[in-house]
């Protein structure tokens, strides 16, 4: 829809209430998504995002606490994972998979790709997919990425 260029931000189409039926006649679908990354700016993770005691908490006690509470309620969640995080914390990815959760891609570095040239964005999607496929053993089915250009709440610029 060329006329929408620079007018709406996507070509998404939504279903209205009642237009969708879930398996087993369930009334509602509930997804838990865990952002398995660390706070970073629009450029994505830089070393200082990883070298903090908050980062240590996140990847150990924080992650363990979430995995335990999800297990207690028998909920399989989706973990959005930047390929860089999977490279740095392969053991955490192993734990997440062993406990029955999905790993989805969250960019190569958790970067905002909205300002990248299309060929650069394509190369990063490919690299992120390759890295996650190698570490998890299967190709990610989903992609998480927020455009955060000019977002003053997006963390370190």
């Amino acid at each position: 829809m060329p006329w929408k260029t620079n007018y709406t931000i996507s070509d998404e189409v939504s279903l209205r209430d009642g237009e969708i039926a879930w398996p087993d006649h369930n009334r509602c679908c509930f997804n838990v998504v865990v952002d398995l990354s660390l706070a970073s700016g629009p450029q994505g993770l830089v070393p200082s995002d990883l070298t903090s005691t908050d980062a240590v908490f996140a990847m150990r006690d924080g992650l363990t606490g979430l995995l335990d509470v999800l297990a207690a309620h028998k909920i399989a969640a989706t973990f959005a994972v930047p390929a860089a995080m999977a490279n740095i914390f392969p053991k955490a990815i192993e734990d997440v998979l062993r406990r029955g959760h999905e790993i989805a891609a969250e960019g190569l570095f958790h970067e905002d790709v909205s300002q990248l040239a299309p060929e650069d964005e394509r190369a990063r999607m490919q690299a992120a997919t390759d890295i996650l496929t190698e570490i998890t053993g299967s190709r990610p089915a989903g992609w998480y990425d927020l455009p955060r250009h000019k977002d003053k709440f997006a963390g370190r610029a």
Partner: protein, 296 residues
């Protein structure tokens, strides 16, 4: 395929991230004395706005802090004494000049005095940093009548250890006490973690200089009580640790002293709660659970 620059960025992230996280060692199967389920450290950061004085903030801001020195610290000591709880007072060295009587009373009641930086800041230059910590420890130990065991600061591990201290309570890397080595991978120091969610200043700090309206915090003490209770219960059920960070100028206000009294009463109804100073908690950890991978 990643281009050269992207590949280098990835390699740097992996090597720096991995190296940093290896500086932490956690204690497996941590056990408290006498089969206690949880250790609770009540801590008070008795800075009384020293840092605001250094920032040259206006009189009204300084007066808030001075309330902590004149009134708040006494109320906290009386509260802890009424429950026979020994607390840890993290005190900047210069506070010894400003409020010596309150500190003498804290010592007489059996509370621990520990370092909170000479002037509530750590100088960048190494010789000056050492001078600050040594001055602070000299002032505090003179009032305490015995050596100081710990600090709540960003002082460097090697200096902290050289000065005879054996714990720091400054960072939130885990729920339980753990060890942190310095950049060289050496000088591992016991960390008694605290978190800003269990810090009165995050809920009750009103009118921090230069902050805009949404940053003003004046929480209902009942709400804070329920949040802190939830944190306590989760750790109690698992077997754990809670470090409660208070400031005399914040929690010394009447309504918050009342809330703390209720908090302590609730905890005391449960068996197996070890109310300890940071010093006693740290001594237990370093003697019963010394680091195995990291070197001190």
């Amino acid at each position: 395929m990643m281009d050269q620059a992207t590949r280098e960025r990835m390699d740097t992230l992996v090597s720096k991230g991995t190296a940093y996280h290896q500086r932490f060692e956690f204690i497996d199967n941590l056990k408290w004395p006498d089969g206690a389920r949880i250790a609770v450290n009540f801590t008070a950061d008795f800075d009384a706005m020293l840092y605001r004085r250094i920032l040259n903030e206006p009189a009204l801001q300084l007066a808030k802090g001075e309330f902590g020195g004149r009134v708040g610290i006494w109320r906290l000591i009386e509260l802890f004494d009424s429950h026979d709880i020994k607390a840890t007072i993290f005190t900047p060295g210069r506070i010894c000049e400003l409020y010596p009587q309150a500190l003498q009373r804290a010592v007489a009641s059996g509370h621990e005095l520990a370092d909170h930086m000479w002037e509530h800041q750590v100088p960048r230059e190494a010789a000056l940093e050492a001078d600050h910590l040594q001055k602070s420890l000299a002032a505090l130990s003179a009032i305490r009548g015995k050596p100081i065991s710990g600090t709540r600061s960003g002082h460097t591990n090697s200096l902290v250890r050289q000065c005879g201290l054996f714990y720091n309570s400054h960072t939130p890397a885990g729920h339980l006490p753990h060890y942190i080595a310095d950049r060289t991978g050496q000088n591992a120091l016991l960390s008694l973690p605290f978190h800003y969610a269990i810090d009165d200043a995050q809920f009750y700090t009103f009118g921090w200089l230069g902050s805009d309206n949404p940053a003003q915090r004046m929480s209902d003490p009942d709400r804070v009580l329920e949040m802190w209770w939830a944190a306590f219960v989760q750790q109690y059920n698992k077997g754990g640790y809670l470090n409660v960070c208070l400031h005399p100028y914040v929690s010394g206000r009447a309504l918050r002293i009342e809330m703390l009294d209720q908090f302590i009463r609730r905890m005391k109804k449960l068996p197996g709660v070890w109310f300890a100073t940071c010093e006693d908690t740290a001594r237990h950890c370093v003697t019963q659970h010394p680091p195995r991978r990291l070197t001190a």
